[in-house]
Amino acid sequence: MPLLETRGLCHQRLRCCDFSVDGGSVVAVTGASGAGKTQLLRALADLDPAAGEVFLDGMARRSIAAPLWRRQVAYVPATPAWWADTVREHFEPEQIASAEALLRDFGLDSKALDWPVDRLSTGETQRIGLVRAVARSPRVMLLDEPTSGLDRASRERVEKFLQRLLREGLAILVVAHYGGRIVESADRRLVVGSGGAVTELAP
Protein backbone atom coordinates (compact mmCIF):
# COMPACT_ATOMS: atom_id res chain seq x y z
CA MET A 1 0.00 0.00 0.00
CA PRO A 2 1.44 3.44 -0.89
CA LEU A 3 2.17 5.77 2.01
CA LEU A 4 0.50 8.76 0.34
CA GLU A 5 -2.11 8.52 -2.38
CA THR A 6 -4.30 11.08 -4.14
CA ARG A 7 -7.59 10.42 -5.90
CA GLY A 8 -9.04 13.22 -8.00
CA LEU A 9 -7.12 15.93 -6.16
CA CYS A 10 -7.94 19.28 -7.80
CA HIS A 11 -6.92 22.71 -6.57
CA GLN A 12 -7.69 26.07 -8.21
CA ARG A 13 -5.44 25.99 -11.30
CA LEU A 14 -4.50 22.34 -10.85
CA ARG A 15 -6.42 19.77 -12.84
CA CYS A 16 -7.57 16.70 -10.96
CA CYS A 17 -4.74 14.22 -10.49
CA ASP A 18 -4.16 10.73 -9.15
CA PHE A 19 -0.73 9.61 -7.97
CA SER A 20 0.89 7.82 -5.09
CA VAL A 21 4.14 7.95 -3.14
CA ASP A 22 5.69 4.97 -1.38
CA GLY A 23 7.45 5.18 1.95
CA GLY A 24 11.21 5.61 1.55
CA SER A 25 10.85 7.09 -1.95
CA VAL A 26 11.32 10.49 -3.53
CA VAL A 27 8.94 12.04 -6.04
CA ALA A 28 10.34 15.08 -7.83
CA VAL A 29 7.79 17.68 -8.91
CA THR A 30 8.87 19.75 -11.88
CA GLY A 31 7.26 22.30 -14.16
CA ALA A 32 7.60 25.87 -15.29
CA SER A 33 7.46 28.75 -12.81
CA GLY A 34 3.87 29.52 -11.92
CA ALA A 35 2.59 26.17 -13.23
CA GLY A 36 1.24 25.22 -9.79
CA LYS A 37 3.93 23.10 -8.11
CA THR A 38 3.64 24.97 -4.82
CA GLN A 39 -0.15 24.75 -5.07
CA LEU A 40 0.14 20.99 -5.39
CA LEU A 41 2.25 20.76 -2.22
CA ARG A 42 -0.09 23.11 -0.34
CA ALA A 43 -3.10 21.07 -1.44
CA LEU A 44 -1.44 17.88 -0.17
CA ALA A 45 -0.73 19.58 3.16
CA ASP A 46 -4.39 20.65 3.28
CA LEU A 47 -3.41 24.32 3.58
CA ASP A 48 -5.84 25.33 0.82
CA PRO A 49 -9.30 23.94 0.11
CA ALA A 50 -9.09 21.29 -2.61
CA ALA A 51 -11.48 18.79 -4.12
CA GLY A 52 -10.76 15.08 -4.19
CA GLU A 53 -9.23 12.89 -1.53
CA VAL A 54 -5.78 12.15 -0.16
CA PHE A 55 -4.95 9.02 1.81
CA LEU A 56 -2.13 8.39 4.27
CA ASP A 57 -1.46 4.73 4.82
CA GLY A 58 -4.93 4.02 3.43
CA MET A 59 -6.67 6.45 5.81
CA ALA A 60 -8.68 9.22 4.18
CA ARG A 61 -7.54 12.72 5.05
CA ARG A 62 -11.05 13.80 5.90
CA SER A 63 -11.11 11.24 8.72
CA ILE A 64 -7.94 12.67 10.27
CA ALA A 65 -7.98 15.97 12.18
CA ALA A 66 -6.15 18.63 10.14
CA PRO A 67 -3.43 19.39 12.75
CA LEU A 68 -2.66 15.68 13.05
CA TRP A 69 -2.55 15.37 9.25
CA ARG A 70 -0.06 18.21 8.96
CA ARG A 71 2.17 16.80 11.68
CA GLN A 72 2.47 13.69 9.50
CA VAL A 73 2.48 15.38 6.09
CA ALA A 74 4.78 18.35 6.66
CA TYR A 75 5.03 21.19 4.14
CA VAL A 76 8.24 23.22 4.16
CA PRO A 77 7.99 26.32 1.95
CA ALA A 78 10.90 27.72 -0.04
CA THR A 79 11.30 30.50 2.50
CA PRO A 80 10.24 29.27 5.93
CA ALA A 81 8.47 31.94 7.98
CA TRP A 82 8.64 32.70 11.68
CA TRP A 83 6.08 33.59 14.28
CA ALA A 84 8.30 34.38 17.29
CA ASP A 85 11.49 36.32 17.97
CA THR A 86 14.05 33.56 18.52
CA VAL A 87 14.65 30.17 16.90
CA ARG A 88 14.03 28.38 20.22
CA GLU A 89 10.44 29.64 20.44
CA HIS A 90 9.62 27.71 17.26
CA PHE A 91 10.10 24.38 19.00
CA GLU A 92 8.07 22.70 21.70
CA PRO A 93 10.04 22.22 24.95
CA GLU A 94 10.19 18.45 24.43
CA GLN A 95 11.71 18.97 20.95
CA ILE A 96 14.65 21.10 22.11
CA ALA A 97 17.11 18.23 22.64
CA SER A 98 16.42 16.69 19.23
CA ALA A 99 16.48 20.16 17.63
CA GLU A 100 20.00 20.75 19.00
CA ALA A 101 21.18 17.46 17.50
CA LEU A 102 19.45 18.19 14.20
CA LEU A 103 21.01 21.66 13.98
CA ARG A 104 24.44 20.04 14.26
CA ASP A 105 23.47 17.47 11.60
CA PHE A 106 22.57 20.36 9.31
CA GLY A 107 25.91 22.09 9.94
CA LEU A 108 24.63 24.71 12.37
CA ASP A 109 25.76 25.53 15.89
CA SER A 110 23.32 24.25 18.53
CA LYS A 111 23.49 27.79 19.97
CA ALA A 112 21.47 28.77 16.90
CA LEU A 113 18.43 28.06 19.06
CA ASP A 114 19.00 31.38 20.77
CA TRP A 115 19.56 33.38 17.60
CA PRO A 116 16.99 36.05 16.75
CA VAL A 117 15.16 35.02 13.58
CA ASP A 118 15.48 38.44 11.97
CA ARG A 119 19.26 37.98 11.72
CA LEU A 120 19.22 34.61 9.97
CA SER A 121 20.72 34.35 6.50
CA THR A 122 18.76 32.71 3.67
CA GLY A 123 20.71 29.46 4.09
CA GLU A 124 20.24 29.41 7.87
CA THR A 125 16.52 30.12 7.43
CA GLN A 126 16.17 27.19 5.04
CA ARG A 127 18.09 24.77 7.21
CA ILE A 128 16.32 25.77 10.44
CA GLY A 129 13.00 25.54 8.59
CA LEU A 130 13.86 21.95 7.71
CA VAL A 131 15.01 21.19 11.27
CA ARG A 132 11.74 22.59 12.58
CA ALA A 133 9.77 20.20 10.37
CA VAL A 134 12.02 17.15 10.92
CA ALA A 135 11.90 17.62 14.71
CA ARG A 136 8.19 16.82 14.54
CA SER A 137 8.93 13.41 12.96
CA PRO A 138 6.67 13.61 9.88
CA ARG A 139 6.03 10.57 7.69
CA VAL A 140 5.85 12.59 4.45
CA MET A 141 7.76 15.79 3.71
CA LEU A 142 6.63 18.23 1.04
CA LEU A 143 9.73 20.26 0.25
CA ASP A 144 9.56 23.38 -1.90
CA GLU A 145 13.04 24.30 -3.17
CA PRO A 146 14.64 23.03 0.06
CA THR A 147 18.26 23.73 -0.87
CA SER A 148 17.99 26.72 -3.22
CA GLY A 149 19.72 29.10 -0.79
CA LEU A 150 22.46 26.73 0.36
CA ASP A 151 26.12 26.49 -0.58
CA ARG A 152 27.40 23.18 -1.87
CA ALA A 153 28.67 21.89 1.48
CA SER A 154 25.43 22.73 3.29
CA ARG A 155 23.36 21.23 0.47
CA GLU A 156 25.27 17.98 0.67
CA ARG A 157 24.77 17.82 4.45
CA VAL A 158 21.02 18.36 4.06
CA GLU A 159 20.76 15.81 1.25
CA LYS A 160 22.76 13.26 3.23
CA PHE A 161 20.46 13.74 6.19
CA LEU A 162 17.31 13.44 4.07
CA GLN A 163 18.65 10.21 2.56
CA ARG A 164 19.04 8.84 6.07
CA LEU A 165 15.38 9.69 6.74
CA LEU A 166 14.40 8.04 3.46
CA ARG A 167 16.05 4.83 4.58
CA GLU A 168 13.91 5.05 7.74
CA GLY A 169 10.75 5.13 5.62
CA LEU A 170 10.09 8.85 5.08
CA ALA A 171 8.44 9.79 1.76
CA ILE A 172 9.50 13.03 0.07
CA LEU A 173 7.82 15.14 -2.58
CA VAL A 174 10.30 17.76 -3.67
CA VAL A 175 10.14 20.77 -5.94
CA ALA A 176 13.63 21.87 -7.03
CA HIS A 177 14.45 23.84 -10.15
CA TYR A 178 18.17 23.34 -9.88
CA GLY A 179 18.31 19.61 -9.31
CA GLY A 180 20.54 18.30 -6.57
CA ARG A 181 21.18 14.79 -5.38
CA ILE A 182 17.72 14.27 -3.93
CA VAL A 183 15.98 15.32 -7.15
CA GLU A 184 18.40 13.45 -9.39
CA SER A 185 17.89 10.25 -7.39
CA ALA A 186 14.09 10.63 -7.42
CA ASP A 187 12.19 7.39 -7.89
CA ARG A 188 9.49 9.12 -9.91
CA ARG A 189 8.83 12.47 -11.54
CA LEU A 190 5.63 14.45 -11.74
CA VAL A 191 5.33 17.30 -14.19
CA VAL A 192 2.91 20.14 -13.60
CA GLY A 193 2.23 21.39 -17.10
CA SER A 194 0.71 24.59 -18.36
CA GLY A 195 -3.00 24.44 -17.66
CA GLY A 196 -2.34 22.67 -14.35
CA ALA A 197 -2.28 19.10 -15.68
CA VAL A 198 -0.19 16.82 -13.46
CA THR A 199 1.41 13.96 -15.38
CA GLU A 200 3.94 11.35 -14.45
CA LEU A 201 7.10 11.10 -16.53
CA ALA A 202 7.99 7.60 -17.60
CA PRO A 203 11.00 6.33 -15.63
Binding site: A45, D46, L47, D48, P49, A66, P67, L68, W69, R70, R71, A74, Y75, V76, P77, T79, P80, A81, W82, W83, R132, A133, R136
Partner: protein
Protein backbone atom coordinates in the same frame (compact mmCIF):
# COMPACT_ATOMS: atom_id res chain seq x y z
CA UNK B 1 -31.91 70.86 39.78
CA UNK B 2 -31.43 73.99 37.68
CA UNK B 3 -30.11 74.27 34.19
CA UNK B 4 -29.71 77.15 31.78
CA UNK B 5 -31.78 76.50 28.65
CA UNK B 6 -30.11 77.12 25.26
CA UNK B 7 -31.78 78.47 22.16
CA UNK B 8 -30.85 78.12 18.49
CA UNK B 9 -28.80 81.33 18.54
CA UNK B 10 -26.50 79.79 21.16
CA UNK B 11 -26.00 76.75 18.95
CA UNK B 12 -25.23 78.94 15.95
CA UNK B 13 -22.71 80.98 17.94
CA UNK B 14 -20.96 77.80 19.05
CA UNK B 15 -20.96 76.53 15.45
CA UNK B 16 -19.06 79.68 14.46
CA UNK B 17 -16.04 78.11 16.14
CA UNK B 18 -15.88 75.74 13.17
CA UNK B 19 -14.84 78.73 11.08
CA UNK B 20 -11.51 78.65 12.95
CA UNK B 21 -11.02 75.02 11.90
CA UNK B 22 -11.94 75.99 8.34
CA UNK B 23 -9.39 78.82 8.33
CA UNK B 24 -6.67 76.48 9.66
CA UNK B 25 -7.53 73.97 6.95
CA UNK B 26 -7.26 76.64 4.24
CA UNK B 27 -4.10 78.21 5.67
CA UNK B 28 -2.23 74.92 5.83
CA UNK B 29 -3.90 73.34 2.76
CA UNK B 30 -5.15 70.43 4.87
CA UNK B 31 -8.13 69.79 2.62
CA UNK B 32 -10.38 69.22 5.62
CA UNK B 33 -12.97 71.89 4.81
CA UNK B 34 -15.42 69.56 3.12
CA UNK B 35 -15.02 66.80 5.72
CA UNK B 36 -15.57 69.30 8.54
CA UNK B 37 -18.69 70.67 6.91
CA UNK B 38 -20.12 67.22 6.21
CA UNK B 39 -19.33 65.93 9.71
CA UNK B 40 -20.76 69.02 11.41
CA UNK B 41 -23.90 68.92 9.26
CA UNK B 42 -24.33 65.21 9.96
CA UNK B 43 -23.93 65.81 13.68
CA UNK B 44 -26.54 68.60 13.71
CA UNK B 45 -29.07 66.67 11.61
CA UNK B 46 -28.55 63.36 13.46
CA UNK B 47 -28.80 64.92 16.91
CA UNK B 48 -31.87 66.99 15.93
CA UNK B 49 -33.63 63.86 14.68
CA UNK B 50 -32.58 61.88 17.75
CA UNK B 51 -33.82 64.72 19.98
CA UNK B 52 -37.24 64.55 18.37
CA UNK B 53 -37.34 60.76 18.53
CA UNK B 54 -36.23 60.67 22.15
CA UNK B 55 -38.91 63.18 23.12
CA UNK B 56 -41.49 60.90 21.51
CA UNK B 57 -39.92 57.73 22.93
CA UNK B 58 -39.69 59.10 26.48
CA UNK B 59 -43.35 60.06 26.47
CA UNK B 60 -44.47 56.55 25.43
CA UNK B 61 -42.45 54.33 27.90
CA UNK B 62 -43.04 51.13 25.91
CA UNK B 63 -40.64 48.18 26.28
CA UNK B 64 -41.08 47.25 22.60
CA UNK B 65 -40.41 50.74 21.34
CA UNK B 66 -37.35 50.98 23.58
CA UNK B 67 -36.08 47.62 22.35
CA UNK B 68 -36.77 48.58 18.74
CA UNK B 69 -34.89 51.84 19.15
CA UNK B 70 -32.01 49.93 20.78
CA UNK B 71 -31.84 47.57 17.79
CA UNK B 72 -31.68 50.52 15.39
CA UNK B 73 -28.80 51.94 17.44
CA UNK B 74 -27.01 48.56 17.30
CA UNK B 75 -27.52 48.49 13.53
CA UNK B 76 -25.94 51.91 13.07
CA UNK B 77 -23.10 51.02 15.46
CA UNK B 78 -22.41 47.88 13.43
CA UNK B 79 -22.34 49.84 10.19
CA UNK B 80 -20.06 52.53 11.65
CA UNK B 81 -17.68 49.92 13.07
CA UNK B 82 -17.48 48.24 9.66
CA UNK B 83 -16.95 51.55 7.85
CA UNK B 84 -14.01 52.36 10.15
CA UNK B 85 -12.16 49.17 9.21
CA UNK B 86 -9.67 49.39 6.38
CA UNK B 87 -9.59 45.59 6.30
CA UNK B 88 -12.87 43.76 6.69
CA UNK B 89 -14.52 40.41 6.11
CA UNK B 90 -16.38 39.99 2.83
CA UNK B 91 -20.14 39.73 2.59
CA UNK B 92 -22.59 40.04 5.45
CA UNK B 93 -19.94 38.80 7.90
CA UNK B 94 -18.19 42.17 7.66
CA UNK B 95 -21.24 43.86 9.13
CA UNK B 96 -22.70 40.94 11.07
CA UNK B 97 -19.82 40.04 13.39
CA UNK B 98 -19.32 43.57 14.73
CA UNK B 99 -23.05 44.17 14.97
CA UNK B 100 -23.72 40.96 16.87
CA UNK B 101 -20.76 41.48 19.22
CA UNK B 102 -21.73 45.06 20.01
CA UNK B 103 -25.44 44.27 20.25
CA UNK B 104 -24.84 41.43 22.69
CA UNK B 105 -22.31 43.35 24.79
CA UNK B 106 -24.21 46.66 24.75
CA UNK B 107 -27.64 45.22 25.52
CA UNK B 108 -26.32 42.85 28.25
CA UNK B 109 -24.43 45.60 30.02
CA UNK B 110 -27.37 48.00 29.75
CA UNK B 111 -29.74 45.38 31.14
CA UNK B 112 -27.35 44.84 34.04
CA UNK B 113 -27.27 48.58 34.73
CA UNK B 114 -31.05 48.89 34.55
CA UNK B 115 -32.00 45.88 36.62
CA UNK B 116 -29.24 45.78 39.25
CA UNK B 117 -27.60 49.22 39.51
CA UNK B 118 -30.02 52.03 38.67
CA UNK B 119 -33.32 50.13 38.98
CA UNK B 120 -35.66 52.76 37.47
CA UNK B 121 -39.41 52.13 37.58
CA UNK B 122 -40.27 50.54 35.19
CA UNK B 123 -36.81 49.08 34.46
CA UNK B 124 -37.12 49.61 30.67
CA UNK B 125 -37.72 53.35 31.00
CA UNK B 126 -36.17 54.75 27.80
CA UNK B 127 -34.88 57.89 29.59
CA UNK B 128 -32.33 55.59 31.30
CA UNK B 129 -32.04 52.68 28.84
CA UNK B 130 -31.29 54.62 25.68
CA UNK B 131 -28.58 57.01 26.96
CA UNK B 132 -26.76 54.19 28.76
CA UNK B 133 -26.90 51.94 25.71
CA UNK B 134 -25.74 54.85 23.56
CA UNK B 135 -22.70 55.52 25.70
CA UNK B 136 -21.75 51.83 25.94
CA UNK B 137 -22.29 51.26 22.20
CA UNK B 138 -20.38 54.38 21.17
CA UNK B 139 -17.27 53.32 23.06
CA UNK B 140 -17.68 49.62 22.30
CA UNK B 141 -17.84 50.52 18.60
CA UNK B 142 -14.43 52.21 18.75
CA UNK B 143 -12.88 49.22 20.51
CA UNK B 144 -14.47 46.64 18.21
CA UNK B 145 -13.53 48.54 15.04
CA UNK B 146 -9.90 48.93 16.16
CA UNK B 147 -9.63 45.30 17.27
CA UNK B 148 -11.17 43.86 14.10
CA UNK B 149 -9.12 46.09 11.84
CA UNK B 150 -5.91 45.19 13.67
CA UNK B 151 -6.68 41.46 13.59
CA UNK B 152 -7.66 41.31 9.92
CA UNK B 153 -4.77 43.52 8.75
CA UNK B 154 -2.29 41.48 10.78
CA UNK B 155 -3.70 38.25 9.39
CA UNK B 156 -2.81 39.47 5.91
CA UNK B 157 0.57 40.90 6.88
CA UNK B 158 1.64 37.94 9.02
CA UNK B 159 0.09 35.28 6.82
CA UNK B 160 3.37 33.39 6.37
CA UNK B 161 3.97 33.10 10.11
CA UNK B 162 0.40 31.90 10.75
CA UNK B 163 0.59 29.36 7.93
CA UNK B 164 4.01 28.19 9.16
CA UNK B 165 2.35 27.26 12.46
CA UNK B 166 -0.60 25.59 10.73
CA UNK B 167 1.75 23.66 8.43
CA UNK B 168 3.56 22.26 11.46
CA UNK B 169 0.33 20.95 12.95
CA UNK B 170 -0.67 23.71 15.33
CA UNK B 171 -4.44 24.18 15.59
CA UNK B 172 -5.94 27.44 14.31
CA UNK B 173 -6.60 28.63 17.88
CA UNK B 174 -2.88 28.56 18.60
CA UNK B 175 -1.78 29.89 15.22
CA UNK B 176 -4.11 32.90 15.47
CA UNK B 177 -3.55 33.52 19.20
CA UNK B 178 -0.68 36.05 18.82
CA UNK B 179 -2.78 38.10 16.39
CA UNK B 180 -5.84 37.89 18.61
CA UNK B 181 -3.91 39.01 21.67
CA UNK B 182 -2.42 42.08 20.01
CA UNK B 183 -5.83 42.97 18.48
CA UNK B 184 -7.58 42.62 21.86
CA UNK B 185 -4.98 44.88 23.44
CA UNK B 186 -5.40 47.46 20.70
CA UNK B 187 -9.19 47.36 21.09
CA UNK B 188 -9.04 47.91 24.85
CA UNK B 189 -6.46 50.72 24.81
CA UNK B 190 -8.98 53.58 24.21
CA UNK B 191 -11.13 52.72 27.23
CA UNK B 192 -8.07 52.05 29.42
CA UNK B 193 -6.64 55.45 28.42
CA UNK B 194 -10.01 57.03 28.95
CA UNK B 195 -10.33 55.62 32.47
CA UNK B 196 -6.75 56.57 33.34
CA UNK B 197 -7.18 60.14 32.14
CA UNK B 198 -10.73 60.76 33.44
CA UNK B 199 -10.84 63.63 35.90
CA UNK B 200 -7.19 64.55 35.36
CA UNK B 201 -6.80 65.24 31.67
CA UNK B 202 -10.49 65.70 30.88
CA UNK B 203 -13.87 65.81 32.55
CA UNK B 204 -16.08 63.12 31.02
CA UNK B 205 -18.97 64.39 28.91
CA UNK B 206 -21.77 62.78 30.85
CA UNK B 207 -20.51 64.03 34.18
CA UNK B 208 -20.04 67.52 32.78
CA UNK B 209 -23.55 67.39 31.32
CA UNK B 210 -25.03 66.37 34.66
CA UNK B 211 -23.16 69.10 36.51
CA UNK B 212 -24.34 71.68 33.95
CA UNK B 213 -27.86 70.36 34.48
CA UNK B 214 -27.54 71.04 38.21
CA UNK B 215 -26.74 67.58 39.62
CA UNK B 216 -24.63 67.59 42.78
CA UNK B 217 -20.98 66.86 41.68
CA UNK B 218 -20.59 63.89 44.04
CA UNK B 219 -23.57 62.16 42.42
CA UNK B 220 -22.39 63.12 38.92
CA UNK B 221 -19.00 61.56 39.67
CA UNK B 222 -20.61 58.32 40.89
CA UNK B 223 -22.76 58.15 37.74
CA UNK B 224 -19.66 58.69 35.65
CA UNK B 225 -17.75 55.94 37.45
CA UNK B 226 -20.61 53.49 36.91
CA UNK B 227 -20.80 54.43 33.25
CA UNK B 228 -17.04 54.04 32.80
CA UNK B 229 -17.18 50.57 34.32
CA UNK B 230 -20.14 49.66 32.13
CA UNK B 231 -18.26 50.90 29.06
CA UNK B 232 -15.12 48.97 30.04
CA UNK B 233 -17.12 45.78 30.64
CA UNK B 234 -19.14 46.19 27.44
CA UNK B 235 -16.07 46.96 25.35
CA UNK B 236 -14.25 43.92 26.75
CA UNK B 237 -17.14 41.59 25.93
CA UNK B 238 -17.71 43.21 22.51
CA UNK B 239 -14.04 43.04 21.52
CA UNK B 240 -13.76 39.43 22.65
CA UNK B 241 -16.89 38.30 20.80
CA UNK B 242 -15.97 40.18 17.63
CA UNK B 243 -12.45 38.74 17.59
CA UNK B 244 -13.60 35.19 18.25
CA UNK B 245 -16.17 35.50 15.47
CA UNK B 246 -13.63 36.97 13.05
CA UNK B 247 -11.04 34.29 13.89
CA UNK B 248 -13.62 31.61 13.26
CA UNK B 249 -14.58 33.13 9.92
CA UNK B 250 -10.98 33.71 8.85
CA UNK B 251 -10.18 30.04 9.28
CA UNK B 252 -12.14 26.88 8.57
CA UNK B 253 -12.86 23.51 10.13
CA UNK B 254 -9.71 22.09 8.49
CA UNK B 255 -7.66 24.72 10.34
CA UNK B 256 -6.74 26.66 7.20
CA UNK B 257 -6.20 30.41 7.03
CA UNK B 258 -8.95 31.74 4.73
CA UNK B 259 -7.74 35.13 3.51
CA UNK B 260 -10.07 34.65 0.53
CA UNK B 261 -12.85 35.58 2.96
CA UNK B 262 -11.45 39.08 3.34
CA UNK B 263 -12.90 41.87 1.25
CA UNK B 264 -10.26 42.55 -1.37
Amino acid sequence: MTYIPLDNTDVLLAAALLLINGLISVAFALGLGRSLLVAATRMVVQLAIVGLMLRWLFSSVSPWLTFGFALIMVGFAGYEAMARQEQRLAGTWGLGIGMFAMGFAGISVTLLALTILLRPEPWFQPRFAIPILGMVLGNCMTGVAIALNQFLSQARQRRNGVEAMLALGYPREKALAPLLKSAARAGMIPIINSMAAAGVVFLPGMMTGQILAGVEPGQAVKYQMVIMFLIAGGTGVGVLLALLGAARRLSDERHRLRLDRLKS
